[in-house]
Amino acid sequence: MFDRDTWQEILGTLRKHKMRTFLTAFGVFWGIFMLIFMLGMGSGLKNAVFKNFGNRAKNVMYVWSNATSKPYKGFQPGRVPRLNLEDIDYLYENVEGVNYIAPRTTIPGNITYKENAEAYDIRGELSDMITVEGYKVYKGRYIQPSDVEESRKVIVLGKRVAEVMFGKGKWEDAIGKYVTANGVEFQVVGIFGPEFIQPWTEDDLETTVIPLTTMHKAFGTAGRIHYFALSALPKYKISDLEDQVKTILQQRHYVAPDDPRGIGGFNLEEQFDKMSGLFLGISIFLWIVGIGTLIAGIIGVSNIMMIVVKERTREIGIRKALGATPGVIIRSILIESVFITLVSGYLGLLSGTLLVGAIDFIMETNNVSLDMFYNPEVKLEVGIGAVVILVIAGTLAGLIPAIMAAKVNPVLALKNE
């Protein structure tokens, strides 16, 4: 199949018709190039969106309370259930598959260091919120389990708070110093901020965090929590836990089981899945468009092969007279067709990948950061898939012309014109 004569003939015919070969090959080249380029750009869009999820845990739901809308067990609608630390303990014990629960209670605060005083929120947390939100710790550490158990008077400052309190370039000096929060002295143990600074994450720079237990003791928040994030163990799906958690909280806080309000929740995984679904849809669409372009190219190849067979009718007749079987003739046309598609398609694949790679490289080296475009890439599977498609397409493109060639009647083909 891959002997020298076959190739000699294929290259011979291609060389004889350079322009025609080029135009044919260009159709396939363009099809694959567009497919790869579009998929690469699509992945840039996708990577940008998923980058915003960052290191944040994905198997997570957020739960909070809000005003009920239905009367239940003697309670009037409009009551806001108060979630508390006991709820957290109860959930840990009674819901299977909980990895951790990270509650938060936020109160307005006044932070003072020497003569600097500024109003910032104070968050009371257990140690796990950093895992949920994927915060970046610039210096020191975040709240630890021992801080919570011993109700230590330690505080973690948002980076901007540290800059305001200790001076622009001297925010690192804050570690180990004592600041006053709502009249109580806390020792600064860490400086933190969000993983990616975005308009909607800037809050995290301008806040302070203390152990939730300390908050309850020092500021009279009486075990209250405003909301909590619950993460499921890897084997469990958060969506499966969501109903259980809500039902337990509804029972504990006398909320009607059919009340859509009272206990509110937000399932990050569901959002994540929706987003994944959206991008799956986009990439299916891109594949369809890309393959459509490719098909146009393939039809071009088929068309040209048809002309090739017509032109070579006499040659095929000679070969048949010399003893070529139909199989040999079909094979040589098919190889030629697959060869054109594969070579031009591979070049398309290569240039598409190079272009996408170049865009990525240029963006990276010049630190270009766009909200909706990040790290475009061509996956290996896409490349392999494209090559498989090319081989199949090349075969299909050659099939009809090849059968036509096999049916050439040597008597007619050899007739002197």
């Binding site: 002997d3 004569d5 011979g12 006499r314 070969r319 048949k320 010399l322 003893g323 079987t325 002197n416």
Partner: protein, 229 residues
């Protein structure tokens, strides 16, 4: 002379070309015997059916009824693959217009039939070279057909027809495109091949060509007219 045996045996061969409106009976019952090692010519005017007869002899075309035995094998109801096999092994074709492949050199053209026997390239080229030498074109082996004269091209074609050591050499107007001097050179070559023991059949409409063969078979209106030695 050694004991002869029938190389080609045609019994009451009939062939008609049918269209929706016409039924053109081209061969009306051909009986023909050609023995091994014979040098014969088939003569006839155009429309006599000699081309059709040649195509049937060459297994390029099928016949409607009768029997065609080639080297003891009945050529009937062959699949495309079988027909290709017999064309390759039993028959060597020489055409009026040479029918060399223009993008191949002389030696590659000669080697082509061996390619269909799946013989490896080195052996093919070696054999092809041998036959090129036999027709006196060894020095021209790496030339393309368009660099050769008509007579040279026909000699390459003859080498190609011989390379598979076929049972029968079938030549269709082999001198039709050549001037008289080259014609007679080519006919001398056929004579040599005949002397070497090969069965040679030449289809022609030129009497002086036909007269160089041992036997002339005349065909007219789809029937064989007479036999003369």
């Amino acid at each position: 002379m050694a004991q002869t045996f029938s190389m080609i045996e045609l019994k009451n061969i009939k062939k008609a070309y049918k269209t929706d409106f016409t039924n053109l009976q081209v061969l009306k019952g051909i009986d023909l015997d050609i023995e091994e090692g014979e040098f014969v010519s088939i003569m006839g005017s155009s429309g006599s059916g000699k081309s059709t007869l040649l195509n049937i002899l060459g297994i390029l075309d099928e016949y409607d009824s009768g029997k065609y035995t080639l080297a003891g094998q009945l050529m009937q109801n062959l699949s495309e693959k079988q027909a290709a096999y017999f064309r390759n092994r039993f028959i060597g074709f020489v055409f009026q217009s040479f029918n060399l492949l223009s993008f191949k050199t002389a030696v590659e053209n000669v080697a082509l039939p061996l390619y269909y026997q799946k013989i490896n390239r080195i052996e093919r080229l070696e054999k092809a070279m041998h036959y090129l030498e036999m027709v006196g074109l060894k020095e021209w082996a790496n030339h393309h057909p368009n660099q050769l004269s008509g007579g040279q091209q026909q000699r390459v074609a003859i080498a190609r027809a011989l390379v598979t050591e076929p049972k029968v050499l079938l030549a269709d107007e082999p001198t039709g495109a050549l001037d008289s001097k080259t014609s007679s050179e080519v006919m001398d070559l056929f004579e040599d091949i005949h002397q070497a023991g090969k069965t040679v059949i030449i289809v022609t409409h030129e009497l002086d060509i036909a007269q160089k063969t041992e036997r002339i078979i005349r065909i007219q209106d789809g029937l064989i007219l007479n036999r003369e030695i």
